[in-house]
Amino acid sequence: MSTRDHVVAVGEYLALIAARSGFRDYRVIWNDPANAALRRKRTNPQSLAPGDLVKVPVLEEPAFARATDQVHRIVAAGGPILLHFRLDDQSRKPFATRAGKLTVGGRNATGAFVVRGPIDRTTGGDGELDVTVGGEPVEGEFVIAPTTAADGSSGATFRFLVGQLEPVDTPRGMRARLTNLGYFAGASDDDDDQLAWAFEEFQCDEKIPKKQRGFTPGDRKKMLPTWNALAKRHGDMLPGEELTE
């Protein structure tokens, strides 16, 4: 099958690119032989870097356009988007079975920005929260109110941007995961000092071997154990998906 080139933009992930290109399953694109280089470079198809090149197979004309009846409906080709969270409190313990309010904003089939919520959701026993969203989710928030009892527990507000988690071996990807994990990694994209200090904290917490500590973005080999530990702790990398040289 022939392919066309798609250059990834900020906020794009493969499930979104697939949906917009008429694929219900992004794996058709990911597993296409034309994307072998992309698969070697990136471990998670939903965590791509702006500028990455995706080869999108060119579909034949969709069936509904050839239909002979007069009813022409726009069929959203993409499936729903799934968002999986693990939510921890300030002590790094899960927000277990806690009630919260979820709000998600995104684009509907006509491209209009719409907001849904707040709706009541309760986290699971490990702080997990699974959300299924139609359309193209862009941003959202989940608000856990503090409990007021004498032995009450924390509240928190998690605001999130969907599809902006870039690969762990990119500056924005490192900062985003460290920030998600509660480390202070600096407020701006070019604050390398704070990023380095956040890595020192992370490496200490994760007991990364002394020889592999430090922040040496130019030394890929030395950073690999830290990057893999970071993506695994964050949850977007599973065992067997580790970055290699």
Partner: protein
């Protein structure tokens, strides 16, 4: 399944910075989001409010305590934690304990734990001997001797009630449950602690350190070190709870062992004298403790703090005086007492761009941006807007509404006895002069 419905717009979620996440359809994959331990505001108590070399709190602390209670009351769901600091002169272990004793003394006065003061009094440590202080001695002498505890407790209690008063001179207390450790640990874990000498605001240059080593210069050294001897209170993000077992700081009465495990890898460099004097917030490299340094960075202390001053007028244009007004910046609500001059001053992080000023029941949105010069139309408009004469947009174009507002202002200036032409002209120098006077800038 959540299907988007109509309403809202991008950026509909105010508050803290958004986190970046990746969607996934793989079962075990997820995005871990941790609520950060994040202070939203801080308060600091200077060295001179303690007796010399002592943890005894002097009556001069009253005004600062009134500010603290305003801050605590304005942010009732934000737990607080106290961090004492010593200067780096002398022994690290001693300094840790002294800073812990000062933190303890402050916690005790806020919570009326008279027993903690009694312990400090009865257990002097080195130069920190309350019996040597006239006032503390008078409060305690003879009455904490065996058999005579209750009069001493009464005197300490009365002294605490006298110095911990709010701006209406009413005695206040802060409940132990309002602290980060919720008062759960009898020895204050998470509620109050001493950082010792590990987190100074100022590190001397090599030249200064050499000079100060001479005994003749001890007084000058102690004075230059005064900024380092302080007690800091952080207010944490609303509803924050901590796991006491995982809290990194040792208790106020414990040694430096656990502190040393938390030092940055370059702590030696951070603490050493260098070619030039280094200071917070400019240099950002004087705190040796990783944990404290990060708390401090997250609260925005590293940024130059900007001072905002408002003159508060009521709807009749009269000064509002002797009240408390509030400025909401981010999650924090900052209080400020309006003095007889009608001025309220706030210290906000330099990167804050918007805030809400709350005067009684009125809420006023404030854009924090440089005020355009009065010689520009926008500068005239902004001042007229702030003074309540102009309701329209600040667009830099002198339209009919701007002219009307200028005329209304000029007429009022004339009514107040300053004769200026009623020109309606933004370029009128007399108008500009009077606008700057009325606006205060």
């Amino acid at each position: 399944m959540l299907d988007p419905v109509a309403g809202g717009s991008v950026g509909a979620f105010p508050g803290s910075r958004a986190l970046s996440i990746a969607p996934t359809d793989v079962d075990q994959e997820h995005n871990t989001l941790r609520a950060p331990l994040r202070p939203i505001a801080s308060w600091e108590l200077a060295d001179h409010h303690f007796a010399f070399d002592s943890s005894f709190i002097l009556p001069s602390m009253t005004e600062d305590l009134a500010e603290l209670v305003m801050l605590v009351r304005a942010n009732p769901e934000s737990p607080l934690a106290i961090f004492g600091h010593a200067d780096p002169t002398g022994d690290a272990g001693y300094n840790k304990l002294l800073s812990g004793r000062r933190a303890t003394a402050l916690f005790a006065v806020l919570t009326r734990r008279v027993d903690l003061w009694t312990q400090l009094f009865q257990n002097p440590m080195g130069r920190d001997d309350w019996k040597k202080d006239d006032l503390a001695g008078r409060l305690m002498r003879g009455v904490v001797e065996p058999g005579g505890t209750s009069p001493a407790l009464t005197l300490f209690q009365r002294y605490m009630d006298a110095i911990a008063v709010d701006q209406d001179r009413a005695a206040f207390t802060v409940a132990p449950a309002s602290f980060l450790g919720r008062g759960a640990d009898p020895k204050g874990r998470g509620d109050f602690q001493g950082c010792g000498e590990f987190n100074p605001l100022r590190v001397f240059s090599i030249a200064e350190a050499t000079t100060f080593r001479s005994p003749a210069n001890k007084e000058a050294r102690d004075e230059a070190n005064a900024v380092n001897r302080r007690v800091t209170v952080f207010l944490f993000s609303r509803g924050t709870r901590i796991d006491l077992a995982a809290w990194p700081c040792p208790r106020a009465g414990e040694g430096i062992g656990r502190c040393q495990k938390r030092l940055w890898s370059d702590a030696g460099v951070r603490r050493a004298n260098a070619a030039r004097r280094r200071e917070q917030p400019a240099d950002r490299d004087t705190f040796a403790c990783r944990f404290y340094d990060r708390l401090n960075e997250a609260v925005g202390h590293h940024q130059a703090i900007r001072q905002l001053t408002f003159r508060v007028l009521d709807e009749f244009g009269d000064l509002v005086v002797d009240t408390v007004v509030f400025l909401k910046v981010g999650e924090a609500t900052l209080p400020a007492k309006v003095g007889g001059d009608g001025l309220a001053t706030f210290r906000v992080p330099a990167d804050a761009t918007e805030a809400v000023l709350q005067i009684g029941r009125d809420q006023i949105d404030v854009d924090i941006a440089p005020l355009p010069p009065v010689t520009t139309v926008a500068g005239v408009q902004q001042r007229l807007f702030n003074l309540g004469f102009l309701a329209g947009a600040i667009d830099g174009a002198a339209g009919p509404r701007t002219r009307e507002a200028i005329i209304a202002f000029q007429e009022e200036v004339n009514e107040d006895g300053v004769a200026i032409p009623v020109s309606g002209d933004p370029a009128d120098p007399a108008l500009q002069r009077e606008l700057v006077r009325a606006h205060g800038s």
